[in-house]
Structures are given as structure tokens and as C-alpha cells.
């Protein structure tokens, strides 16, 4: 269709001004956009407020979407299983997969316990989840991988808390709204997670590659102890994630580590648990400059006493 010829705006002053103002506004819009983009690249948390409000507003639709999404996944799995070996097969396979993950996790937990007992006899208290909620969606069109969950500040969720599903780690809370939160998924290119091999105890980092898989980089370079099919679990370093939660399964070996597939695919995730930050003191210590004492520590108390005297 040929466009209506709005460019030749007759002798009407009003029409001419309207057209001109349109171009000026569009130009100003682009400039304002460029400035805002610069600000938010420089300060990524700058527009947290408006985003939280907007997300809270569409949350009810998202809840429905989550049910339909996981229901749909179940339907496809059932059809696939009927074609191959009967409709039970899909359920059994899923259960078996989770059981396998659990066994590997239990192995790594036993190893962890033995190590802790050998050190000090320390014991983790079982951390209760802050909230159990639905995974309501993700940024499916952007190259950044963010997810949205249906619980926010009103459920006591804070920035930095780990999010996990029944299978394994999903990501970490990045922003909180009143009743929703934004989660940085493991596959985002900005995501780095301290991990170790469940079988081999080799410590490393899992980085998102942006294409749905993870890159495992080992800390100690030497003989690569990872094998194809190994389970990668969290190591607890950094203090955010409790150790021993399943993260990924190694799919191929690289020079300095491995490539791995996420255990908890967001597409098949319905309910997630938000857990408290595992070691809050460690996280705060990592944020504090070396010169300053950590809040709540002996040195801080001593410093406070000295100032009092």
C-alpha cells in the first residue's frame, strides 16, 4: 500500500507544525533513549523501581501462564511416551532422573560431611526456604537471561538469595518487586557460580555462555578430573549458595574444564524455592574493603570500643 502523502502537508500551518513536531519528538525520543541506555549500562540497578511495579501488575497473567506452560510440557512428554513405550514412561524417566541427581547429591553431601567433621565437627543447620513460589516467565526475546518468580519483598525475599527447583539451582535473585522478583538465570552471560564436581571434588566456576549451556572453568589446571556425564554441584564458596546443590551435567570436556547442561531447565520448571543466603557474614565480608572491619565481627566490636574510650 502506498503511504498517504503526509510529507506534502499543504498550506495549513497547523498540519505543517504537527508534522514537524512529530519528527522533532522522535529525534528527542531517540536521544533520551540513548542517554537512558547509557545510564542503565553504567548503573544496572537504576530503574529497579518502575520495573518492579510493572511486573507486579502483570503477575496474575504470569501465574496462569506458568500453569499452562508446565501443563503443556507434560502433554508433549505424554504424547512422546505413548509413541515410544506407553504414557507412564515419561513420568518414570523423570523420576529416575531426579533420583539419579539425588543419589549424586547425597554422595557429595556425605563427602562434604566427612570433610567438615574432619575439620571441626561443624554441622549445617537445615536452611528452611524463605518462600516457595511459581516461576512465572522469562525474557524469552532478549539475549539476557532473566526469570520472574511470583514472590517479592512481601514474602521476605532479598537481593542475592539463591533460587532452586526440585532438580537443582535455577539462579539468584537480582531485583525484588512488591510481589514478584527478577532472577538472574545460570545461563546468562553475567552469571558466575562457584561449583565443584560431585565425584571428583575439583573446584571451579560455572559461567553462563548465553546459548543455554554452561562453561565450567576449573581453579586448578592440571589433569582434568571431569568426565562426560559428571554431575556438577555448588561448592558453597562465596557464601550465597549452600554446598551440594545440583547445577549441571557435563556434556563435553574442554582444556580448562568442561561444557555442561543445566540440570534445572527453566522451561520445565514450575515451582521454585527461594533459599536464604547461606553465609551472610561471608557475603558481607566480600563486599567490605580490606581496611574496614566486618560488621558484627570481633574486630568491629573492638574498634567500636576504642572509639568509645
Amino acid at each position: 500500500m502506498a503511504p498517504p502523502d503526509k510529507r506534502r502537508s499543504s498550506y495549513s500551518r497547523r498540519a505543517q507544525y504537527t508534522l514537524f513536531t512529530g519528527y522533532v519528538l522522535a529525534g528527542i525520543g531517540a536521544l533520551v533513549g540513548a542517554v537512558l541506555l547509557g545510564v542503565s549500562l553504567w548503573q544496572p540497578a537504576a530503574f529497579t523501581g518502575p520495573r518492579g511495579v510493572a511486573r507486579d501488575a502483570v503477575e496474575p497473567i504470569g501465574q496462569g501462564g506458568a500453569i499452562a506452560r508446565t501443563g503443556g510440557q507434560g502433554l508433549f512428554a505424554a504424547i512422546g511416551a505413548y509413541i515410544s513405550a506407553g504414557s507412564q514412561n515419561a513420568d518414570l524417566k523423570r523420576e529416575l532422573e531426579i533420583a539419579r541427581i539425588r543419589i549424586a547429591e547425597a554422595d557429595s553431601l556425605a563427602r562434604e560431611n566427612a570433610r567438615l567433621k574432619a575439620l571441626l565437627g561443624l554441622r549445617d543447620s537445615e536452611a528452611r526456604p524463605v518462600a516457595i513460589t511459581r516461576f512465572i516467565g522469562s525474557t524469552a526475546a532478549s539475549t539476557r537471561r532473566f526469570g520472574y518468580i511470583g514472590a517479592g519483598r512481601d514474602a521476605g525475599i532479598e537481593v542475592g538469595m539463591p533460587v532452586r527447583s526440585a532438580r537443582g539451582v535455577v539462579g539468584r535473585v537480582l531485583e525484588t518487586g512488591e510481589s514478584t522478583s527478577r532472577v538472574l538465570l545460570l545461563t546468562d552471560r553475567e552469571s558466575v557460580l562457584p561449583v565443584r564436581g560431585a565425584r571428583s571434588d575439583a573446584a571451579g566456576f560455572a559461567e553462563g555462555r548465553g546459548d543455554g549451556s554452561l562453561r565450567i572453568r576449573l581453579v586448578n589446571l592440571g589433569i582434568n578430573p571431569l568426565r562426560k556425564g559428571d554431575l556438577i554441584v555448588t561448592s558453597g564458596a562465596g557464601g550465597y549458595y549452600a554446598p551440594g546443590i545440583a547445577v549441571a551435567i557435563v556434556t563435553s570436556i574442554a582444556d580448562d574444564g568442561a561444557f555442561a547442561r543445566m540440570v534445572s531447565d527453566p522451561a520445565a520448571t514450575d515451582l521454585v524455592a527461594v533459599q536464604p543466603i547461606w553465609q551472610r557474614t561471608t557475603v558481607e565480608a566480600a563486599r567490605t574493603p580490606v581496611e574496614e572491619p566486618i560488621a558484627g565481627s570481633d574486630q568491629a566490636d573492638a574498634a567500636a570500643n576504642n572509639e568509645g574510650q
Binding site: 498517504p4 522522535a26 516467565g137 522469562s138
Partner: protein, 184 residues
């Protein structure tokens, strides 16, 4: 007359006697459909890699190319701002890119005023692919080869879905111009 051909008093937009277009409906449908596109892209699929076309932007392109002159040139600013709240891109990227796209189409339209659907598809596809690429560059995270490769299916899907988006837009355009206002 009616006995001869009952359809003679109707057209694609409904009956013509005692009915008129609703200005309210005619204005709100394009804007609302683009806003819905922005919201919908975050909801149905939670994927580990980007897959869906940017639906809000595709709807904007659809309205701009299928019905030129309907959306004002500055429409990219408010609509892009809304999209930024949901898309996961850093705030401001859609404001900038949507505004630039509207200006760019305006310039191209001055050069090629008469064009068929094939040219619109080419133009829309090229703008969508460029939008995804620049969006990835300005996403605030380092861009590696695997991430670029992973974008391939998304770009292809976006380009292939453009005719469908155009059909949706033309259907919505018919809804927009349905005569529902009763004249007294």
C-alpha cells in the same frame, strides 16, 4: 434492493446503515496490541536461550509497514519505554532502537513510496535482525561466539514470522474499523 442482494448494504467492516466507526476503538487497537506484544513475550516460554521474536517490536513494525501513517513518528518513544520494563534489556535500549527504527522507515518510505509486500518483508526482516543484533551488543553483558550462534534460530524465526505478524495486524485493523457505534 435487499431482496436482490442482502450483502449490498454491508462491507468488510459490517453494516453501513445506522452504524459508524468508533474513534475510540480505532485509536486504541494499534497501541494496545503493541503493548500486549511486549508483555506476552515474557510469559509463555521460559527458556534457557533466547528463542521468541521480539513480539512488541514486531507488532510495531507490522502496524508501521501494513498501515503507514497510522502511528505517529514519535510512537517508538512511549511504546519502547513500556517494552523496556519487561524485555530484560537495559532500560533505554528499546526507547532508542524503536525511535530510530521509526525514523529509518520514514526515510526509506520517502525513497520507495510504492512497494509490494515482498519489499516490506525484506525491510521488516532486516530491521528485526538488526534490532536483535544491536540489542545483544547493548545488553550489558560480554558477547561471545556461542551467544551469537545461539541467536541464529531467533533471527530466522523473527524474519519468518513477519508475514504472520502482518496478517495479525491486518485482522486487527479490520477489528479496529468495525462499525460498532450506533448513530441516532
Amino acid at each position: 434492493m435487499q431482496r436482490l442482494d442482502p450483502a449490498s448494504r454491508r462491507d468488510a467492516y459490517g453494516g453501513r446503515i445506522n452504524r459508524a466507526h468508533s474513534p475510540w476503538l480505532a485509536t486504541i487497537v494499534p497501541w494496545l496490541s503493541i503493548l500486549l506484544g511486549s508483555i506476552v513475550q515474557t510469559l509463555p516460554i521460559a527458556s534457557a536461550l533466547p528463542m521468541l521474536p521480539p513480539l512488541g517490536f514486531a507488532m510495531l513494525l507490522g502496524w508501521r509497514l501494513v498501515r503507514p501513517g497510522l502511528l505517529p513518528v514519535w510512537a517508538g518513544f512511549p511504546l519502547g519505554m513500556f517494552d523496556d520494563l519487561f524485555s530484560g534489556q537495559p532500560f533505554g535500549s528499546a526507547i532508542l532502537l524503536w525511535s530510530l527504527a521509526m525514523l529509518m522507515i520514514e526515510i526509506i518510505e520517502a525513497r520507495v513510496p510504492w512497494r509490494g509486500f515482498a519489499f516490506d518483508w525484506l525491510l521488516g526482516g532486516a530491521i528485526l535482525a538488526g534490532y536483535l543484533l544491536i540489542g545483544a551488543l547493548a545488553s550489558g553483558a560480554p558477547l561471545g561466539t556461542p551467544a551469537l550462534v545461539a541467536m541464529g534460530p531467533q533471527v530466522v524465526l523473527s524474519v519468518l514470522l513477519f508475514p504472520l505478524i502482518s496478517r495479525i495486524v491486518s485482522t486487527l485493523d479490520r477489528v479496529r474499523l468495525t462499525r460498532i457505534r450506533v448513530l441516532r
